[in-house]
Chain length 274, copies 4
Amino acid sequence: MNIAQANDLVLMLAPDEKRFLIRLSAGAQLHTHRGFIPHDAIIGQPFGNAVKTQLGQRFLLLQPSTFDLVMHVKRASQIVYPKEIGYIVLRMNIVPGARVIEAGTGSGGLTLALSRLVRPDGRIYTYEERDDMIELARKNLERIGALDVVEIKQRDIRAGFDERNADALFLDVREPWMFLAQAHAALKGGGFFGSLVPTANQLTDLLREMESWGGWSDVQVIEILMRQYKPVADRLRPEDRMVAHTGYLLFARAVARMPARAEIEQADEQTESE
Amino acid sequence: MNIAQANDLVLMLAPDEKRFLIRLSAGAQLHTHRGFIPHDAIIGQPFGNAVKTQLGQRFLLLQPSTFDLVMHVKRASQIVYPKEIGYIVLRMNIVPGARVIEAGTGSGGLTLALSRLVRPDGRIYTYEERDDMIELARKNLERIGALDVVEIKQRDIRAGFDERNADALFLDVREPWMFLAQAHAALKGGGFFGSLVPTANQLTDLLREMESWGGWSDVQVIEILMRQYKPVADRLRPEDRMVAHTGYLLFARAVARMPARAEIEQADEQTESE
Amino acid sequence: MNIAQANDLVLMLAPDEKRFLIRLSAGAQLHTHRGFIPHDAIIGQPFGNAVKTQLGQRFLLLQPSTFDLVMHVKRASQIVYPKEIGYIVLRMNIVPGARVIEAGTGSGGLTLALSRLVRPDGRIYTYEERDDMIELARKNLERIGALDVVEIKQRDIRAGFDERNADALFLDVREPWMFLAQAHAALKGGGFFGSLVPTANQLTDLLREMESWGGWSDVQVIEILMRQYKPVADRLRPEDRMVAHTGYLLFARAVARMPARAEIEQADEQTESE
Amino acid sequence: MNIAQANDLVLMLAPDEKRFLIRLSAGAQLHTHRGFIPHDAIIGQPFGNAVKTQLGQRFLLLQPSTFDLVMHVKRASQIVYPKEIGYIVLRMNIVPGARVIEAGTGSGGLTLALSRLVRPDGRIYTYEERDDMIELARKNLERIGALDVVEIKQRDIRAGFDERNADALFLDVREPWMFLAQAHAALKGGGFFGSLVPTANQLTDLLREMESWGGWSDVQVIEILMRQYKPVADRLRPEDRMVAHTGYLLFARAVARMPARAEIEQADEQTESE
């Protein structure tokens, strides 16, 4: 049934498109810039209907999307945005059942999105060092009920990851090139690697280390730009300003480390002489 | 176990990054521009390893991602690209268990991607009128084993959709504004609506019809641009050319149709006079 | 000589890159967020040198570029930005000696830039209806000494332009499609037409009118996007946010109006039967 | 008079928008994919009129713009595109009378554009090492009659530039950071410096050298992206593909070299103790 019930996480959309994400609880109240609504007036309403504040302002009762949940994460750090997360999902083969490692957790926005997509049997293992981030991410994940498929681990990843044969691994850390061996050890053969870095210098450092370390193939580097339009039929135009940069995305596949070129040539010579 | 087996769908990556998507079958052969490989030489190999052609060229044995599968769809029409599909997934709340309607099917690229993400309990209902497209999409979906969660329906959608209370509905048709009532009837309250149109004219037509018909809220219009880089540490630069446009994406939520403004004012007056 | 002199228009660049455009005048003072500098301390200094405020802050003494002048225009309206002006200059063949018509004047930013490029023998004829804009533009142009090559005309351009055989004509007005006949009459054969409109609707209206009216050829529609980087060697990255849209640029050439298709076919038949 | 005459450089625009740049010469013929036209049939025609081939195809007779001339340069190297040139003109204060240094000349596209804008009294000094490039550029510049304001110098710029107090200097070379001292010596105080490099690595090298060498201020790094639209009123949409990258533009002003930080602090201490 498509009716809001106590304990549901719902999105209330104000007439000016302001958004309120709340967990419905009998007796509680939603206070907004346009008046308040008792949760009891929301509970029992069909989704897609409007509920009025005491000032007569109509708020739409909606189920939040993964997009909404990511955008409502309480953040203490730069989050990974839906435009990047969506592409990560397709490129890194995030599907129901996938076992995915992530570091660092940060505010937990990416963790949250991935956790929704690997259900019911998949699992997200997310690593973070900082106390404050761990606490914040845990709250963000708890709020949407994601903790049953997410394991948060407070750890310095220089020591490596606990998991083996992971399907995918994403590094959202300052120096991802420091952890390539650890990532490779945790991934299954052909496993999906991804990383997000804000500067071109980090990107060249990461590429250089991947080139010299070996063990990575099908490397792709991209940026995703999103251009938003004012959705008005008679005055259609792009918004004046846009997010120009969140980061460079790098993807690769973990493969058997190639023998060094010298070894290859030697082997080839032997083959030829046989 | 992470070992290639007969009947697996695998991606063989050539040294020049050319990609071959094949279903492994004992006795069969993969013929490429760099020589051939008997499938029997692949079967039993661990993923992430290289297998040589008779010419000594190393091909990497990889599991295909959703991205790879979409890009390998045999196409007779413009496909929806991964950069758009990824964003659709987050914005339209495509999660395991979702029931999603789509029209038209086209080559089945979007169908394929969605089908992987709603497993095991979700379902994709995809509508298409044209015989040739139905046949092509069926082949594309069958190849990756998606037909257990996809229903292909050959139908003119002017007559409406069979489903009710769908979680999400995506229109990839020439005149999406013709089918807003049908879409609204098929969606649950607050259900997720999306559409992709190539021209600004179609976009203004769609926006105009949504504005006048009512029943839609939280409308967002965006374009996703992807900029690809040459992944070389010492000569990092964007590719010379990029895809500048695939289409404009429009998203909205199906909500209770508002009474017309006149009716609202009348109702308000009555309330006040009571 | 490359020495600042009384009455020079100079740019003073603060340590935090804030910019002050001033006309040097003996006895005057420049007051800034970092202290003040008497103009007399600037007069006589070589360009490229620093001058200190009483607080010891070093301000660089620079000659302003056309870019700087445009960006310092006092504005009461959306200006045309340097990224667009630069392209206009090349596409519309703005060269020394050119006679250019422009409407409306607005704050005079484009007028200013064009005036610098047609010297010494060219001329800018700029049309504007509004009193307040005329006054503002006159001040902006006077400040940089442009009025000797610019004629400002307060006029409703529905009545047409005074000039004939103009080299180029630029329309920066709300409904440029209303003035195509007037523009065509003012331009020389093959003359350069340009326009800037913020919405896709205006663009389709303009294109439609050009198509039906005839007399225009080599039509090009573009957008110019500028992406700015933080210029730091060790942390190179695009700025977080960018201007996503100022407007759509349309360019065309004024040509002899073609006879309507019917007339052409009739004429061709006659030719053939002769 | 706006009539095509012998020896004029004209642009003939085919019905399919193909463009032919020719120098009119009595007795000569223009051969195209749509038939031929004797130059004598063009000479005497008003610009903006159509001239027919022997096959009845109408070609428009137009005066070429700076844009057209740059795009018609015969090229043996990557050229600087109009979108970048336009911005260079405004940012580097290219105005009538300016003295501008450029290296390397390449095919001469930027040289050509600048030469048109500094007339009648300005001058372009362009440096190039390679014989073949010198020859090609000379032909390209001669064709449009630019050699009276351009001096081509075959020289290794490591030895420096001949000019002093130049208004502006543009480096379009592989390793611009090698020539900062030479550029600084050639520019007037506050003179305009610009450079175009294709890779992020070159950009960080250039930024690093500027930072450590000193003598540069107001550094800006940008990319210009141009998005082209199909100019059709009823099917307005961006072109499918676009040029994603030509290069990163860097601009700076040549200023008095700052004393090193240590020297500044020492000097400040002395000032304070006085």
